[in-house]
């Protein structure tokens, strides 16, 4: 398929659709869909797609959108949906269920500020609210990455070593509504990349088991442990899926952690989503000027790539985390986990949180310059710094 100029929503919708269509020789696909700005275009794209064997069920709420997808997945179909912000909050209960039922549902999530107030712009707080559920979480910085990561997510989620749902996040408007050149996967490529879904625990009349009934503490703990084991296998499966993707499509869908200059960087910024693009420009410029600055783009937040992170920060003395989210009473969510990753191993490492672009604020190169200025000069880490607003 030729490269086209499309929005991030278009890319996500296309990826979900071709993935769904790719299961037509098997048990087909289905999804429940519900509108919410700025995600709506994704489900509109899906609703228009000329599927061979896929049911798109327009439901009355996000809660039911995931409900329908859970039912479809349990019936062995490739299931997916998309949502955003308060919609995700309303969906939470069923998002959790999809994870604990080990259903390889893929959800495109457009990151939008949780309200109130009424605010439709980018903030990662909505998907981070889901961080403790058994979902794989990807954050993208471009429409192409949205496209590619969605297919990658299906591939990983449906792997029998994994069997966990995955969400693919894109920033509201910055990606969702921004046109950009995107190489949209064609159907035959997708068909080859995604094998037919074979859900081992789908509902079968010849195997009348009951899912989700009472379990005593020991049995329930055992299931939690299985999820932890599946999560721990994700990095390996990701590498396999990524390699095959490169072979099939001739481009890299991206590793869990992507770096710039971390081999020798003394100061490293960590960015997530579209901020990574801006940060990349700033860091690259600094490096071009001879500064030992580096950048880590965190693509996969769950499972948390702790090991890769430690490796990437080997030479660093200072790490600044650009958090487009705020966990009340604590600070940035990414910062918390990154700090924890170095606990006990790097007491010398200064890790400072910068709250940037919250509630859809624009993260400019100048702001990142300010961050670097602060990071490189401060003597010790402190409470998160609220960027762009008077103290």
């Amino acid at each position: 398929m030729p490269v086209e100029v499309v929005t991030g929503n278009h890319a996500a919708g296309h990826a979900l659709s071709v993935a769904a269509e790719a299961n037509r020789e098997a048990r087909g696909a289905a999804c429940g869909i519900y509108p919410i700005t700025p995600q709506t275009e994704i489900v509109e794209y899906v609703a228009k797609f000329p599927f061979t064997k896929c049911r798109v069920v327009p439901v009355e709420s996000e809660h039911s959108a995931m409900g329908v997808s859970i039912g479809a997945s349990l019936a062995g179909a490739r299931a997916f949906t998309a949502s955003s912000s308060n919609g995700l909050a309303y969906m939470v209960e069923n998002i959790m269920v999809a994870g604990y039922y080990r259903l390889p549902i893929v959800m495109a999530t457009v990151n939008r500020t949780l309200g109130p107030p009424w605010n439709i712009w980018a903030d990662h707080g909505d998907t981070l609210m889901l961080r403790d559920f058994p979902w794989i979480q990807f954050y993208c910085e471009s429409n192409q990455e949205v496209m590619d990561t969605t297919l990658l997510a299906f591939r990983i989620a449906e792997d029998h070593r994994i069997l966990l749902p995955a969400l693919v996040s894109l920033d509201a408007f910055i990606l969702s509504h921004t046109q950009g050149e995107t190489d949209l996967a064609d159907q035959s490529q997708t068909d080859r990349y995604l094998p037919d879904l074979d859900l081992p625990h789908r509902m079968r009349h010849d195997d009348p088991k009951t899912l989700g009934g009472l379990m005593w503490p020991d049995v329930a703990t055992s299931l939690r442990l299985e999820i932890d084991e599946a999560m721990s296998r994700v990095p390996t499966v990701l590498q396999e899926a990524r390699a095959e993707f490169m072979e099939m499509f001739g481009r890299d869908p991206g590793d869990a952690l992507q770096t710039l200059g971390t081999k020798d960087a003394e100061t490293i910024l960590v960015a997530i989503g579209s901020i990574a693009t801006t940060a990349h420009e700033v860091v690259q410029a600094r490096r071009d000027a001879g500064e030992k600055v580096g950048l880590i783009k965190l693509k996969m937040f769950r499972p948390f790539p702790e090991e890769a992170l430690r490796e990437a920060c080997r030479t660093a003395g200072r790490v600044g985390v650009l958090d487009r989210n705020y966990a009340a009473g604590m600070g940035g969510v990414f910062w918390q986990d990154i700090r924890a990753a170095f606990q006990a191993t790097r007491s010398d490492l200064l890790i400072q949180d910068y709250l940037t672009g919250l509630c859809g604020g624009d993260v400019t190169p100048a702001m990142i310059e300010e961050v670097l200025a602060d990071l490189t000069t401060r003597e010790r880490a402190d409470r998160p710094v609220w960027m762009g607003i008077a103290a």
Binding site: L163, P200, D207, T221, S222
Partner: protein, 791 residues
Amino acid sequence: MVEIRIHGRGGQGGVTLAKIIATSRFLLGQSVQAFGLYAAERSGAPIQAFCRYDDEPIANRNLIYSPDHIIVLDPTLVGSAITGGLKPGGWILINTTKEPQDLAEQFPDNPVATVDATAIARANKLGTRSVPIVNTALAGAAARLLGFELTEIHDALEHLGFVGPNIAAASQAHEALRLAGDAAADAGVALEEATAPGGAVPEGAEEAGIQEESAETAAPYTIVPRGPSFLEGAGGDLPGIETGQWATEQPHRQQYIPPCNHVCPAGNDVQGFLHALAHDDPDRALEILLESSPFPAVCGRVCPAPCMASCNRIDLDGAVNVRQLERYAGDNGNAALNPVEVHDERVAVVGSGPAGLTAAYHLARYGYRVTVYESTADLGGLLRSGIPRFRLPEDVLDHEIGRILALGVEAVTEHPIDRRGLMEMAGQHDAVLVATGLQELRGLRLGIGDTPAVDQGIDFLDLVRRGRVRVDGEDVVVVGGGNTAMDAARSSLRLGANSARVVYRRTREEMPAIAEEIDEALEEGVQLDYLVQPISLQPDGSAAEGTVAESEAASAHAAGPDGAGYRLTCRRMELGEPDKSSRRRPVEIPGSDFELQCSRVILALGQSPDLSVFPEGTEVREGEELLGLLETPVFAIGDLATNDGTVAGAIGSGRRSAIHIHGALSGERTEITEHAADRRDVDVWHDDVIRPDAMRLHLFERQSGQEGASLPMTTRQSTFDEIHMGLTDPSEAKRCLSCGVCNECDLCVTYCPEGVLKRVGHQLVFDYAYCKGCGICVTECPRNVIFMSHL
């Protein structure tokens, strides 16, 4: 610290018991804990609850693994692993009817105390019948074991708002507690000391270390193996929870005697043949009837049907029309009876009425060689001569007699037997049955002497049958209240009588005639005068003495010039005290005489046995050999022996006698059952009859009974055609309630919530391993064939 573990079932109030005990300590200033182990317990499922109390603040949030004492709320839990971790010497208090000694062997290391808290809870109406709430009673009982004052438990109950019956239950259980062994009382005291805070350590307890170790026993750390994953295919097995252990009661099958079977003089399995007809199987119905009676088609026409009078359906919407259904089976069923010949013994039957023929029938079916001797030219006795064709067509009778003869029964007609003949007959047979019925006809002194104007009803009916009597234009008065009276009157009208009037000295209620026949007689124009006793008959005025000439052609009864040749003087009666037949005795009303004009008087006052065939002084009783004749046993059967007077009664007598003689001749042990109900494989067989109040009549739909069509009145009044046309289908049988006998309606199976009540073949099978004892099968059985028993 004292730790108590409570084992019970969901709904019994185990957690609340822990709370009551804890509250009683709390009110005394101690530190307490009370909690349950919560999951998805349902009413009846095994549960655990826990209680701790101590003088010091309690710093333990674990379950109780090593309790000091155990309280068991449900006796069915005894035997399961309830004593796990129980400290040696710790008490086990069990809610049970058993004595503690009976359980001592089961718990050698621990003293046992018992109390019937369930009975106390029920008596105080705590909880439901199947799930009584026993916690307050057990709190009272536990108080004694734990060394509490009863008032401390009362205080706790009041503090928690459990008043009234709960307080009473606690007190009663406190009183009723039973301790094991002779030293029970001492042990109780000892325990008080052992468990009372700061009390002395009793003998034995030191060894067990009740107090020393109780606070030190730490909850264990265990590593469990990995559980199953639902990603794998396996799974879906039964939970294996034997919920039958939750039950406090269990259902069982029972059977009662249906009233119809009980009262049937012929011994028919009424319920059984109705069941077959309800399933549209007249062949099977006939087969069942033929087990007891060779005359279903006859009885289905002429039986007074006491079964219908006793039918439990009367309380709902009227009796099942058993008579017509028996006729339906007799007319429409086909049953093959093959002759058998297994015995050489020859049996003579004297008389071919229903008793004689029934006996012959059964004896032939046993395989005896039977000869029936009949004094007249036709077989059937009174069935033929005494019942008019419009009630019993002769071809119906012939058909049923034919079935008897087809079994190989020989018939010798026009062979009257006198005393001498009986002796001879005895010499030629191995047994003789005399079934000559009631030959002596009761007369009435009417002060006129022997006159042809007065006939006996039985004779009159036989003349009618043979076409040898004419009554056209006559005014006929029939005296009596039985079927013969009705038959004579109705026959008279058919033959063209001007009027037919039945006079009876009591009221309709006491009339022995079948109610339906009385109704029909009235419909046809017979007049009935109750409480009237004929006194005398005189020729009418100066009218010439009546001449009676019986010619070959007809019997013409000359009347006076006006057609009414006689005056019958009658007296009015009233009912007095009941006589020995328990009917109210008619008493004359002085000065109430009046006269009836008539041309003929027919007496239908009943008959009595003619014993002249036997040696003088012979006492005749059914089933008893008349000894002293010869070596051959001679029996009197039927009306001759019973004086019963009904066809069904005669059939019953014939059947019983045949069984009896078979026993006498073969030496086999035979049993005569009064009712032939099919004994199902039930747990309890009741020898009593099920009454309407034991039926669940509200579960039946009201549905009026079927009568079948009758001939139009004009035909009835002018011909001897059978007036009833019978039922066109057997659906009336579906009205049978099958009282007290399972008819496989399977409502119990339908309603069983667990699906553990099944029908296997004709049997109901309860799966007690899973039956929770809810009792729905009992309350939903319309015919009361399931009952609950306490476990």
